[in-house]
């Protein structure tokens, strides 16, 4: 790629660039507030004051109480804390955990590890659009069930799950000790669609900073009052004893600022992104033969457009786009270190050879209509060129 050529970024679901307003905030706290929030002196207490103010701001954005918010380092950490923390705290009450089959790897692999430790895991199937059926959740819950975890919106295909309804079912099934708990991973939705932990009937909720134009290294876990978990990190007792580690104040301050900006601009930004997303989806499906949308047509994130293309392989699509200065991602096996394609796409019922041809385009704050047009101009020939090489162009795979 030419050095000065501007990169067109269609991978906002992977991570986002920091907003300059957020960078300014983060920088300010990085330079001015170095104190340890656990220290008793003024320098420590000044940092503590900022932390608690930010905790309150985040709590207000999701309808929680401030003491129900725990700051962590990443959504991966929050999700690990949920699965392992709930499992170990409640293993005498039950050993059964329910997740969906389209969770992020950090949920999936934590569950798999718990399975090897003797816990029983149910992985709920999804329909061809990636939706979890709340009735299936109801059927799967038994008296040993301690936790149900369903992703709020898929990072790969953008399908938004019926969390409110699943939460209601979990609530109805709760025993006198409030078990099973219901958790949702909202890493792809916090800051993009309104979140109200009460309305959604969740006991635990994960959200992350770097997906919403905040710095890396900050995330939170909402933990409803009364929910009991075992910490992963034992130490000085930060974050109500649930997450010991000297607090990363600059990242948390940046995260809070980023969240506030997203919420202030959410309505307008959603309309703008949805318009561009729909143009992109229509353009691709219309102009490229053998292209298919993955995920739900309507219940989908406003910034996600994901597809699979017949007869071509995703990693080579990404590399050709990269050479045109377009950044995107794929669920093909060759994009990972495993030899199998994305578990999410397979869960939809796609055959491996179809999942290999997947492409995810995710939009964000700096995506312009001009960029959408450029992509729509370039993508058909990228696919066409790869099909010329492919042995399968006119055959049934």
């Amino acid at each position: 790629m030419a050095k000065n050529k501007k990169i067109i970024y269609f991978d906002y679901a992977a991570t986002t660039p920091i907003d300059p307003r957020v960078a300014k905030e983060t920088n300010f706290y990085l330079k001015k507030f170095f104190g340890n929030t656990m220290s008793l002196h003024n320098i420590g207490q000044a940092a503590k004051e900022v932390l608690e103010k930010d905790r309150q701001k985040i709590a207000d954005l999701v309808g929680a109480k401030s003491q129900e918010i725990i700051f962590t380092s990443s959504a991966t950490e929050s999700n690990n804390l949920v699965l392992k923390g709930v499992a170990f705290q409640n293993k005498k009450k039950g050993n059964h955990i329910i997740i969906s089959s389209i969770e992020h790897d950090c949920i999936l692999n934590s569950a798999e590890w718990l399975e090897s430790e003797g816990f029983e895991i149910t992985r709920l199937k999804v329909d061809k659009n990636g939706l979890v059926d709340p009735k299936e959740v109801k059927k799967a819950i038994k008296k040993e069930t301690i936790l149900v975890s369903v992703i709020h919106a898929s990072n790969e295909i953008g399908t938004i799950e019926p969390i409110e309804e699943i939460g209601k079912i979990c609530r109805e099934k709760k025993n006198s000790q409030g078990i099973p708990y219901f958790h949702t991973d909202a890493a792809q939705t916090f800051g993009k669609i309104p979140i109200d932990v009460n309305k959604m009937n969740v006991d635990l909720l994960t959200a992350s900073s770097h997906k919403i134009y905040g710095p890396k290294g900050a995330a939170f876990l909402f933990l409803k009052q009364g929910v009991k978990i075992t910490p992963l990190l034992h130490g000085g007792g930060h974050e109500f004893g649930l997450r010991s580690s000297t607090v990363n104040l600059p990242a948390i301050a940046g995260f809070t600022k980023a969240a506030e900006i997203c919420h202030a601009e959410m309505k307008e930004e959603s309309i703008r992104l949805k318009k561009m997303r729909d143009k992109l989806i229509e353009g691709v499906l219309k102009n490229i033969p053998g292209s298919h949308l993955t995920g739900h047509l309507k219940n989908r994130l406003v910034n996600n457009a994901s597809f699979w293309f017949q007869f071509v392989e995703g990693e080579s699509i990404i590399m050709l786009l990269d050479s045109l200065a377009i950044a995107a991602s794929t669920g093909s096996a060759c994009s990972s270190n495993s030899l199998e394609p994305s578990h999410v796409l397979l869960a939809l019922g796609l055959r491996p050879q179809e999942a290999h041809g997947s492409l995810r385009l995710s939009l964000g704050r700096w995506t312009t209509e001009k960029e959408i047009d450029y992509l729509l101009e370039k993508l058909p020939s990228v696919i066409e060129n790869l099909r010329k090489i492919s042995p399968f162009k006119r055959r049934k795979m």
């Binding site: 199937k125 990693e315 080579s316 590399m319 060759c334 990972s336 270190n337 491996p352 042995p391």
Partner: protein, 168 residues
């Protein structure tokens, strides 16, 4: 400049040489599996030169696969062109890797397919013409066939998984 792949890989990937099926091929090697995401078909045209030696006049390919698989297919077709069968048989995986430059560890598998396809294409030519097949080609052929069976078995699992999902 791409940070994952070498210049040589990107050169062959972006402008692959000798693309397409060959109608009057003398031998064809089909390797890889669609389930794993890499399929490589390699065609060779064998003729006799003035000295009466058999040479590969031309090689072409069709590949479904990642960057490395496509680049390697293109590379191998350029390497064998004009070579005697004997010399072509001596092209080893290591030679291809050396030519391509640095390949990420997870991609070595993809870059070995082209060598397999060449070996299979020559095997096909010799077998069709009822010629003696060198021991090494035979061994390669048996290994490739065995791998195909393993993957076919794995595909059975996929098929039943698919049935489960669709049969719901």
């Amino acid at each position: 400049m791409n940070k994952i792949y070498s210049k040589e890989i990107m050169k062959h990937f972006k402008k692959p040489k000798n693309v397409g099926k060959m109608k009057d091929f003398s031998g064809c090697g089909k390797v890889g599996n669609i389930i794993c995401g890499d399929v490589l078909w390699l065609y060779i045209k064998v003729v006799k030169n003035k000295k009466g030696q058999e040479i590969i006049k031309k090689a072409t390919f069709s590949t479904f696969g990642c960057t490395v698989a496509i680049a390697n297919s293109s590379l191998v077709t350029t390497l064998v062109q004009g070579k005697t069968l004997e010399a072509a048989m001596k092209i080893k995986k290591e030679d291809l890797l050396k030519k391509l430059g640095k390949v990420p560890p997870a991609k070595i598998h993809c870059s070995l397919l082209a060598a397999d396809a060449l070996s299979e294409a020559i095997f096909d030519y010799l077998e069709k013409n009822k010629r003696r097949i060198p021991e090494e080609l035979k061994k390669n052929h048996q290994r490739i066939e065995k791998e195909k069976r393993i993957i076919a078995k794995r595909y059975q699992d996929w098929a039943s998984l698919e049935e489960k999902i669709h049969g719901k």
